[in-house]
């Protein structure tokens, strides 16, 4: 019951070279999960251009006091992260 082509797990800050490579590699059936320092994307103006679903680990958002602007991304816990990995055909950790 895979509904996501590729789940991209991004744990790098927007300053990291891998951050933009990840964004440029998102396909139309893909989903993005921000973890660790990756959640800082939610506070950055460099985070635009992907229309697909974006998730972020709630504990990492809370740890860094990053507020999520309405509707831009969905916070998930680890159970939600596990579920995403089972719904994706492929998972890439950046």
């Amino acid at each position: 019951m895979a509904s996501i082509r590729t789940l991209h797990i991004l744990n790098k800050t927007p300053d990291h070279p891998r951050f933009n490579r990840c964004l440029a590699s998102l396909g139309s059936e893909d989903a993005l999960l921000l973890t660790e320092d990756g959640v800082l994307a939610a506070a950055s103006d460099r985070f635009t251009g992907f229309a697909g679903p974006v998730y972020a680990l709630r504990a990492d958002l809370e740890a860094r006091a990053v507020e999520v602007a309405g509707g831009t991304l969905s916070p998930v816990d680890f159970e939600g992260m596990v579920k995403l990995t089972t719904e994706a055909e492929q998972i890439i950790s950046w």
Binding site: M1, I9, N11, K12, T13, H16, P17, R18, T35, E36, D37, L57, A59, D77, F78, E79, M81, V82, K83, T85, T86, I91, S93, W94
Partner: protein, 140 residues
């Protein structure tokens, strides 16, 4: 009642404890996978991730002890913990066999971790339904 098929996971950790968040995020993921009824086939430590298997890590008592927490989880659920031999020997993570072979002064692998080759990782890609990687954060 409908049940979704349980998945089998291999978790690969390449980021070191105390220099990255990788072992901690991987631990949260592993616990949630087990709680959701999935199986974990093995943990594979690669690159800097091998430091998770050090029995000599001694963080201050008010900080989380990631190597100990990992070994406790593996023991409680009978999950094999595999440390890549090439990554481990370069970084000074050694079992008794390698200590003898290289005539080293000590061994320091934390049970239940064992040292093995990349073949274990190759097998993960063939056997597990999902292989999830937890990398370090800041390194370019």
């Amino acid at each position: 009642m409908q049940h979704s098929e349980p998945f089998s996971f291999t978790i690969v950790i390449t980021g070191a404890p105390y220099s990255s968040q990788a072992p901690q995020t991987a631990l949260g993921f592993a616990k949630a996978a087990l709680a959701s009824g999935h199986r974990i086939d093995r943990i594979f430590l690669y690159g800097d991730g091998v430091h998770v298997a050090s029995s000599l890590s001694s963080p201050p008592s008010d900080e989380s002890h990631w190597p100990r927490e990992w070994s406790q989880l593996l023991q409680a659920h009978n999950i094999p913990g595999i440390v890549c031999i090439a990554s481990a020997l370069r970084r000074g993570i050694v079992d008794e066999g390698e200590q003898k072979r290289y005539e080293l002064s000590a061994h320091n692998i934390r049970p239940p971790f064992i040292i093995a080759g990349l073949g274990e990782w190759v097998e993960s890609g063939l056997r597990s339904s999902r292989v999830i990687y937890f990398h370090g954060g800041s390194r370019a």
